[in-house]
Amino acid sequence: MRKNKFAVLNFPGSNCEKDCHFVIEHILKQDCKYIWHEETDINNVDCIIIPGGFSYGDYLRTGSIAAQSKIAKSLKKYSRQGGTIIGICNGFQILTELKLLPGTLLRNRSLNFICKEVNLVVNNKSRFTSKYNHNQVVKVPIAHAEGNYFASSTIQKELIKNNQIIFSYCDKDGNINNSSNPNGSLNGIAGITNKEGNVLGMMPHPERVSEKVFGNIDGLGVFESILDFHKN
């Protein structure tokens, strides 16, 4: 069977690129290469992962400098052509700065960095989540200081109308409320796609819960869903 080709982008300051790479190669058993931010040719891959980290030290604004790097133009083109892009944590921040996803990510409500496992309710109507049940509650860790999603009320309406909200912070029973919201995100938004559905940004780290050794493989479904989409 043809192996799927994944690629993980690498910016100065990325620090989850190896974690994503490991899951794709060792757990999903697919091909995965690194793409350096100065490259411009990103064709011939099925899915691009923009990993977490502190690209360019988070200077100026998280993700803003990465969005000006050489690869940005190619990424936009890849997205226009319908290519699959998933941005995790800093990757999500970069995607909003690239305007490939609407809205922005503000400083956490507590003003502190937060690292912990949170509950997410999954909308399975996307190429990134088809392997989950609809409204399934999963446990995936977050690790960020700027994950507080914000968007104008017009964008909000759009997101809901187009079914773009894919992950929302919730309690263990799937209720989205203030006390289950770790960072102050609008409506508990943890992950969204673009209108076309080929670009996903999410603050939680699915690659951190994709192996049995962690006692939790709730994140693996994201990668399996992408694989499933590209098989067909």
């Binding site: 100065p12 620090n15 989850c16 974690d19 502190f54 937060i114 690292c115 690790a143 050794v213």
Partner: protein
């Protein structure tokens, strides 16, 4: 002696200056004074501690590199090795908590990756004063966010540590940072400058005026806040360090590297002279070529700057184009700035003049070593707890239990570790909050367990026994996670060594550590000393912080401290005695306050119990192992109930222990564990314990909802968990 005043200003004593003049046969110039003073500072020279440090056991079959290099190295099998060290950043963290703590992390990381290892875990040991003081809150917030800011950005998980409060740390918090990396035996790099004629390269960030004289400041005692000297604190840039890490690891794939060392305390001076010294050579530097942040910087400042994120490299041959290509990719400077020379001198040229020309030996082996006088303090008569008879109503006992759970040294540390990315790297298989953090090693069955400990209250009562206990508690934490203890690194935080009683504490602590590491076969492979930790009124408690690393050969033997299944038996292994000295319970019972001796410890017995636990863990499927330490058996069992997946309860019956006093549930006896396992397995373990003459008793079983001690008290687990979770003084 024209330059004597300047020498004194730089922290040298008159006697020291006289001996320098004698050695040089002339007076040193201002630059030379600065360089010598930095290298002769307590921080760089270990002049007060060296005499004692030599006594520490440092050898073992598995030790690849002991003390004396940037970090120590142990063999962990399969051609792999673990590189680790702990270091203090106490004084800078008091002056400027965020930057002080952040650069502490940065410095220890460079010590590890300069040896060729990719860092995979960080820990920290933090000590603050009275938690009710405003300044303590400011310090905690600054220090914790500084560590988070640096470690998180570097993408290296902070997986464990300790936070302790004691009023002796008022005005002098302790911030000790630990880093561990992994490499293979054929990819170890040392801080050497072999081969006269070989080029010396400067790598990393540009040199600025920050941190000038930091090494000298590290040994100041702060009298008041106005005296605080902010410009001596370095400014960290974790992004730059991340680039430096990746660039260095890429560089290490090349051939022809002779040696590399990070520019830490006393920056360019210490790295260059130490590398030359280790190879019995000299070194010549041209400061005109040093990348500068500011063109007005002079030779003195350049030599003593502690600007962060810089390395010094010696190559076999000129390799500028190869090096520049890598460093340019990572947006970093790399420049040839000098060469190794045969003449054993440290020679520095700047603007066409030789500004320093002194023997390397004066900066290294000829630094003074003081055998400072020691004197034991006046003995205070303390009791042992054997005769203690105290009656407690059940109601009073339950309320005492709650007070202990809320205590600042017992309650949950989640607020702290949630600010650290403890998962990045996807190796953390036991998160902070259990006995040890456990890091798996990808593509093997192995994992490493890490822990750090020191109960300075015990050390204050008896520095030798307290140090025994610090090592012993580490072994229990390591063993409770299913690992075998391998080696330690230590950070020895003490007061002013010129005071005889302080030096006595130091000498005793060294004895205590030595005795224990010999018994447990966990040699000291690296470490750091921080002296002059005092405030206006007093010294800190003697605080020899011990960090230990252990190996799990097969991760199927990994354990954590949490109860898992209802009806699993709970076994106590090791006999609980009456140990109340500096215990948590003694804070809340006035009859116990300041009247009792430090906990008893019998290293031989302790070792026997350790071996027994390791043996049964390999043989049987044990569900949880947790040691007994601060707060005693009661706190240990309660902590085991706090399983993150679902809270558990326990039904405990202590009748079989024949306690003479119910307060023994809080006794801090050393060498005890409590474990949980299926009933059938418990029977077998009890059988084995008899055969091995190990004290073991079945004291209860795992339940849900309630934590109950039969005939005494019964508390709702959710309530007490809430109390424990919310009490951290932030």
């Amino acid at each position: 002696m024209n330059n004597l005043p300047f020498a004194l200003e730089n922290g040298l004593t008159k006697d020291e200056y006289v001996s320098i003049v004698k050695k040089l046969n002339r007076e040193p110039n201002a630059n030379e004074i600065g360089v010598i003073a930095a290298m002769w500072s307590e921080h760089c020279s270990y002049k007060s501690s060296k005499f004692y440090l030599k006594k520490l056991p440092t050898k073992g079959k598995h030790v690849i590199q002991g003390p004396g290099e940037n970090a120590g190295i142990i063999d962990i099998g399969d051609n792999q090795c673990a590189v680790f060290k702990i270091e203090s950043h106490n004084h800078p963290s008091f002056i400027e908590p965020y930057q002080g703590a952040a650069t502490g992390v940065g410095g220890i990381l460079r010590d590890v990756f300069t040896m060729g290892a990719r860092p995979i875990a960080l820990m920290n040991s933090l000590r603050f004063g009275n938690p009710k003081l405003k300044i303590t809150k400011k310090l905690i917030n600054g220090v914790v966010s500084g560590i988070a800011g640096y470690g998180n950005c570097m993408g290296i998980p902070t997986v464990g540590g300790e936070v302790y409060f004691d009023k002796s740390y008022n005005g002098n918090p302790l911030v000790n940072a630990f880093a561990l990396g992994i490499t293979t035996k054929d990819k170890i790099f040392l801080g050497r400058a072999d081969g006269p004629g070989n080029p010396v390269y400067y790598l990393g960030a540009k040199t600025g005026k920050d941190g000038v004289k930091g090494a000298i400041m590290a040994s100041d005692v702060f009298e008041n806040e106005e005296e605080l000297d902010k410009p001596t604190v370095q400014i960290g840039d974790p992004f730059k360090e991340k680039l430096l890490l990746e660039a260095c690891l890429e560089l290490f794939q090349n051939k022809g590297i002779i040696g590399i060392q990070d520019m830490g305390a006393a920056g360019l001076t210490s790295s260059a002279s130490e590398m030359a010294f280790r190879s019995d050579n000299g070194i010549m530097l041209n400061l005109d070529k040093v990348p500068k942040r500011d063109s007005s910087i002079n030779a003195y400042e350049m030599l003593l700057s502690e600007s962060q994120e810089r390395m010094l490299l010696v190559m076999k041959e000129k390799s500028s184009s190869k090096i520049n290509k890598i460093f340019k990719k990572w947006h970093l400077d790399s420049t040839e700035i000098g060469e190794v020379i045969k003449e054993k001198n440290f020679i520095v040229n700047f603007k066409g003049k030789t500004v320093v020309n002194i023997p390397v030996s004066i900066l290294t082996e000829d630094c003074p070593v003081y055998k400072r006088p020691v004197k034991s303090p006046k003995a205070i008569k303390l009791k042992d707890g054997k005769a203690l008879k105290l009656k407690f109503s059940n109601k009073k006992l339950a309320s005492l239990f709650k007070k202990i759970i809320k205590d600042e040294n017992i309650c949950s540390r989640r607020w702290v570790y949630e600010q650290f990315d403890y998962m990045v790297g996807t190796n953390t298989i036991t998160e902070p909050g259990s006995d040890s953090a456990v890091i798996r090693i990808k593509n093997t069955k192995k994992a490493l367990a890490l822990t750090t400990n020191c109960n300075s209250g015990y050390c204050k009562l008896n520095p030798k026994k307290g140090s025994n206990i610090a090592v012993a508690e580490c072994t229990r934490n390591i063993i409770a996670s299913g690992a075998k203890p391998l080696a330690i690194t230590n950070c020895l935080n003490f007061g002013n060594p010129e005071k005889k009683e302080i030096m006595w504490q130091f000498a005793k602590a060294i004895d205590g550590i030595s005795e224990a590491v010999l018994e447990f076969n966990t040699p000291v492979i690296s470490g750091n000393v921080s002296l002059y930790n005092e405030n206006k009124s007093d010294s800190i408690n003697p605080t020899p912080v011990i960090s230990m690393v252990g190996l799990i050969k097969d991760i199927k033997n990994k354990r954590d401290q949490f109860y898992k299944n209802n009806n699993d038996s709970i076994l106590l292994i090791g006999k609980i005695k009456n140990d109340y000295g500096s215990s948590i319970v003694s804070k809340y019972v006035k009859e116990l306050k300041n009247k009792y001796k430090e906990p008893t410890i019998n290293l031989k017995e302790h070792s026997k119990i350790n071996n027994f636990i390791m043996k049964i863990n390999e043989k049987y499927k044990i569900q949880s192992i947790h040691d007994i330490s601060e707060g005693g058996l009661a706190v240990s069992m309660l902590e085991s109930c706090f399983n993150r997946n679902s809270l558990k309860g326990a039904m405990i019956d202590l009748n079989c222990l024949n306690l003479q006093n119910i307060l023994q549930i809080f006794s801090e006896t050393q060498g005890c564990y409590q474990i949980s396992c299926k009933k059938e397995i418990a029977k077998k373990i009890l059988g084995e314990s008899k055969k091995n003459k190990i004290y073991a008793k079945e004291i209860g079983y795992v339940t849900e909802n309630y934590f109950s001690i039969k005939d005494y008290f019964n508390v709702k687990i959710q309530d007490i968990h809430k109390l424990w979770s919310k009490s951290f003084p932030r």
